[in-house]
Amino acid sequence: MARNSRRPMTSMFEQAVGAQKEEELDRLRAEIEQLKLTQTSGSGEPGFIQIPVAQIVALRLPDNLKQPRRYFDPEKLAKLRDSIQKHGQVLEPILVRRAADGLYETISGERRWRCCKELRLDFIPAMVVEMGDETALEVALIAHLLSEEISAIEETDSILSLLKLRLGQTFEEVKQFLIAIKNYQSRGDGAELIEASSDKVAIIEAVLEEFGLKVSSFVSNRLPLLNLNPQIIEAVRSGEISPTSATLINRTPEHHQVALIDFSKTATKTQLKEKIDHLKQMEWSQRVNSEVEGDNSGIIMPASHLQSEVDNSGIIMTTVPVQERIYTRLKSIRRRKSLLKDQRVQEHLAQVDSVLEKIEAIAGEKGISLS
């Protein structure tokens, strides 16, 4: 940029840089998919070498590039370990980079490597690449996003990390911007901001499209996943509980969630489900009992008052039948004028209204009169 230039050079190159990254993403995707297809059963496969398992470590990145997900599902890990044990080796090569200290860092295939360690295998087939921190994280994220068993919350986390990396912004900024785009697309809000950042919008749309997502559905269906109770999402991010457990726990009343998180750290998903079901049943019978006893207030007595309802984990469920929950929650918002003024709220209420119509239609089908 010359001293008198009006257009900064970075803005001249903005689109070219974006196009370069798009192309890179495309290429990495193809490469990772190729890697998934490659089986190293034939010896002397070009491009792959056998690396001592002991010389491998997990990807080490500077703080500002920290990987979001550190969760390894023990059940899936066990399945993978069995499969590796059966074959006596890892079939699909992992992707590593050579670090300055001579060790190899996993970019894709951390789970396979962890299994090899547990099985005390000496070598693992790997493809060694040269990669900077940013690219390594990007590839790790893409590889993660391409893995088949990824849950929606993990995918959402990784996509947000990818966007964070691409836009050079914080998680919060990326989220706010996504919401702003959606508001612009659905109602034309904030046109100036969005139109002035058309390059950023293009980057976001391109990334989402890679995974078959649109901004509007990502904002309405995916972002809320990250609005799970903070302690739940924290437990997922730190790898203490699985995302599936997280969703299960999030549906339970808030004051029991800490205990449930604690419980699921050592329990399997099935155990957690059983526990929740069991507690729900207990809660239900308690409610029925209280109704029999003439309590028609619709308010659930805190179960902790009843010694017999506390099971050995100390967790008490106060799950209310869904229709009661909806009724109570609607009641709590119906007089909040400032809330109801918000157009988004009105839109959601209209959705609720149309869903209720469907239920009424079923009543009609069954000949149940509702008036």
Partner: protein, 273 residues
């Protein structure tokens, strides 16, 4: 060794594409390489720079190659044979405006040159495409046929802005064309440098704080930048008599830069990534 095919591109005119083409051909020939130059510019400047006469009809130009029925008899002209061996030129010219229109309607038009060079391989070690100064159909054809790309520009804002747009076009187009191997960007060659504020600023030679420079941006994008070629009357004079600088004025230090770029071409690998 696989044939290297270099597309020399810019998104502005008069920034040294043809000069670079003929001088690289000369330097490469000096290293014992056989080089074929392809004039892809309707202005036919390659003809002038090679000291040749304008072709009499379309059959003597690249237009002849860019026909579906072409069967391998390339219209090649020997260049500077009295001084150096191994350089041939396939000329362009005004006919290319018609060629472009025809290519749009031809099946696999974008890949026509690539297909012809594959079906009827040339014996040359290096093929150089001298592209026009504005993005047009023939750029796509050259891109599809090339293994590497060299970009030239003057260190001025309008050229730099145009270069950014050309880069954007290259990334998008080579993705759309699904080229395997993908033509790699070998680097950018700044030309016509004059010792004045704008040129110094843009090349990062000023000691001023907070000025963005082309070297810094290209470095970020991982695109090599070759040494700057300064504005020189000798370059224009050499072109006027149809000779490369290396023959016209062998001792001129600028020849060393052309030689370095020629070495980079010989060392570039074909088909990685």
């Amino acid at each position: 060794m696989l044939q290297q095919r270099i597309a020399i591109m810019s998104n502005s005119g008069g920034v040294g594409k043809t000069t670079l083409a003929v001088n690289l051909a000369y330097q490469l020939a000096g290293m014992g390489k056989k080089v074929a130059l392809f004039g892809c510019d309707p202005n036919g400047s390659l003809t002038l720079f090679c000291g040749l006469d304008d072709p009499l009809n379309a059959d003597e130009t690249i237009d002849y190659v860019l026909r579906p029925e072409f069967s391998g008899d390339y219209p090649l002209n020997p260049v500077w044979r009295d001084v150096v061996q191994g350089i041939d030129a396939c000329l362009g010219g005004l006919i290319l405006t018609e060629t472009s229109q025809r290519l749009v309607l031809t099946k696999r038009g974008e890949y026509l040159l690539a297909d012809k060079l594959e079906d009827h391989p040339l014996p040359h070690d290096v093929v150089i495409f001298d592209c026009p100064g504005t993005i047009e159909q023939v750029h796509t054809v050259a891109l599809a046929a090339s293994t590497h790309i060299l970009l030239t520009l003057k260190p001025e804002d309008k050229d730099i802005d145009a270069l950014a747009k050309l880069l954007n076009w290259i990334y998008e187009t080579r993705r759309d064309l699904r080229l395997k191997p993908t033509p790699e960007i070998l680097g950018v060659v700044p030309n016509g440098f004059k010792d004045r504020a704008m040129h110094r600023d843009n090349l990062g030679l000023s000691q001023l704080e907070g000025l963005e420079s082309l070297p810094a941006i290209l470095n970020q994008m991982n695109i090599p930048l070759f040494p700057t070629i300064r504005d020189s009357a000798y370059i224009a004079n050499a072109a006027a008599v149809g000779l490369p600088l290396g023959i016209y004025r062998p001792k001129e230090p600028i020849n060393e830069i052309y030689k370095d770029i020629a070495i980079a071409i010989t060392q570039a690998t074909v088909g990685e990534n």
